[in-house]
């Protein structure tokens, strides 16, 4: 549709304001990362009085940052992939099929979002321990436990959200495909899934960042070898000093892979339903 001048003006104003809100804290993080520690803890200055890149060098040896980065990438990537597959299947069953227990299942899954996360902490550790003792699969302290945990924590959200996305696609779309003899699931996977690609990407981003920033469970379920970034960042605060500048520098560096990933996927966020795909 044609964009009038006044529309463009409103858009410019709104986006400028939002950009300002977004940038201010990011700028504080950025500028702090280039200051010596004594300036970070002193009065705020818009520009560093003493510009230093020392934090970006020092941070790698203050904590094993590279190892934490690697751990986080493994855990979050795998948990995201698994959660998406599981959630897509479940959301399809919930949004498109009729079966006994459907509502109970969807409400059960939803109810997990109503219980404070912190309360899951000890029971989960307990259950992992029981699983290890009885069937010998170790889950405490290794990648597997954390991957399963993050995957599961994202599934309810992802399932419900995808259900919402699937629900907005008319049934006729896959019914048309089924006339060609494809199964319901096949039609769904081939026809509906590509249409809701933005939704799947969005849910994937959500799932990924869920694990990327999670601290509480990672702190209990990891060892020094499997520790993830968000937990590891806390180690910039030691008994002796708190290296705020290195912590900020590290946050920026670890956000780079995420930033690149965003740049790559953002296109898919806005390329779902080409005009006219649904009539």
């Amino acid at each position: 549709m044609r964009e009038t001048l006044s529309f463009k003006a409103v858009r410019a104003v709104v986006l400028t304001v939002i950009t300002g809100i977004v940038l201010l804290p990011l700028y504080v993080v950025l500028v702090s990362s280039f200051k010596p520690l004594r300036d970070v803890s002193g009065p705020f200055t818009w520009l560093p009085e003493t510009f230093t890149i020392e934090p970006y060098i020092q941070m790698w040896s203050t904590i094993p940052l590279a190892k934490y980065l690697f751990n986080s990438l493994i855990v979050t990537t795998l948990s995201t992939a698994l959660a998406l597959v599981i959630a897509v299947l479940a959301a399809f069953a919930l949004a498109r099929l009729r079966w006994r227990g459907q509502r109970s299942f969807s409400l059960l899954v939803l109810s997990t979002q109503m219980f404070p996360g912190i309360l899951f902490l000890l029971p989960l550790y307990l259950i992992f321990t029981q699983i290890q003792r009885t069937i010998g699969i170790q889950l405490n302290g290794n990648y597997a436990g954390l991957i399963i945990t993050y995957m599961t924590f994202s599934v309810p959200f992802a399932t419900w959200m995808l259900m919402g996305f699937f629900a907005s696609i008319p049934d006729e779309l896959e019914e048309a495909a089924m006339i060609d003899g494809t199964t319901r699931l096949g039609a769904f996977l081939r026809v509906v899934l590509p249409v809701v690609r933005p939704g799947i990407v969005a849910v994937g981003v959500f799932t990924f960042l869920n694990g990327w920033g999670e601290v509480l469970f990672a702190s209990v379920l990891t060892t020094s070898d499997t520790r993830t970034l968000a937990v590891g960042l806390q180690a910039f605060s030691s008994q002796v000093d708190v290296r705020w500048n290195e912590m900020m520098a590290a946050s920026i560096v670890i956000s780079l892979p995420v930033l690149i990933a965003f740049l790559l996927v953002q296109r898919h966020l806005v390329q779902g339903l080409a005009a006219g795909a649904v009539k």
């Binding site: 004594r38 904590i63 003792r133 180690a235 030691s238 008994q239 000093d241 708190v242």
Partner: protein, 441 residues
Amino acid sequence: MKQHRRAIALLATAALGVTALTSCTAAPSDDEDVTITWWATNLASSIQRDEEILTPILERFTEETGIKVEFEVNTWADYYNKVLGAVSSGEGPDVMSVGTTWTQTLADTGAFLQLDGTRMDAIGGADKFVPASIAAAGGDAEGGPSFLPMVNGVTNLWYNPAMFAEAGLTEPPADLDSFVEVAKQLTIDTDGDGSIDQWGLGYPAGSAQELSHTIFAFGRQYGGEMFDKDGEPTLDADGIVEAAKSLTDLMAAEGIVSTADVESTQSQDMYQEFIDGRVAMIWGANPVPAFRDAGFEDYAPGYIPVIEPLIGDPIQTHIAGVNIGVFAETKHEEAALELMRYLTDVETQADFWNELELLPTNAEAYDSGAVEKTEAFEIYSDILANHADTFPLNSKTGQAETLIGDAMKQLFARAALEGPLSEAAIREVLEQANTQLIAAG
């Protein structure tokens, strides 16, 4: 109720897809090539540094005993929940480091081996320790303590001699009133812009943990104890109320502590303030490594002031540090006890002091030539021997620490916003904390 519990237990087990009978205990492994695990905690300027310090120490242990140690350095922020996880599930390392103030609460869980006669002998006997140190680890417990002191620390005063000289002062006075006067002389506007930029005392008034420790010590000076003789909570004791009044007044009435300090949530913030020359004095537990890291040299140790006339005991600090215990589920009790012995032996203890500047708990170490007897060492050990006491050893100590710390934090925030607090207002807040403590688990 028994029925109920069994049903739940069965359900839980069944849900896990197992039969109740398969719970197996792994056979104890043979003596050769024993590997034990140890959860250590951050003590140095970074966990990397901790690893560098501990690695050679533990390699020497392996050489001596043939026992391998897999250790893991934990940051304090995450550690507490991790210990809880281990305690509630029975899945944990063989040896665990814990904070001194958690000692009694964790001992009560029964998740740590009690070090009775034979076990204590394996470690070298209770006599090997400084009496105050082992007492602070629960040494008098019936059936033996569950923890041993690994290293101790005390909180003391640090001052900036250059600032003192500039104000025509020599050293910080020992009694609180004179201390306040001196601190007032040090609270100045150095650049003449109309606002104070050098404060007499820097205090992390936003740290519930620091506050709980300070109120313990000052409460004792005023004759207030956190638990009475029968072990019942008395967080609202008169002495504690008076101590809280006098502490909050340092900020609100005397003006020697900046109100901005209520936003300082950890003692390290104050080390930085001190390094940056914004405060003339701090109370801190071994900030020297921070000073050294920053290349800062204008510091000298002293003593935390005591009220005069003294009403209670001349306590300046609680006995801080790290205790170690053997996890009750260990399959390598002997090896774990060996590690406990080794960590508290003179040579290792000397290493801890020389590398980390944390006080030995081994009595002999104080006479050992291996320990570098610096000025700080003399002051720390004097404070430990004469001016420090054990944070109460009560089942509810951990809870008391949290609750009184929170209450003090609330009081300081109010003092910063509203000015000096009345004793009645202070009492009300402490009473509430006490009620919660009584109701706590």
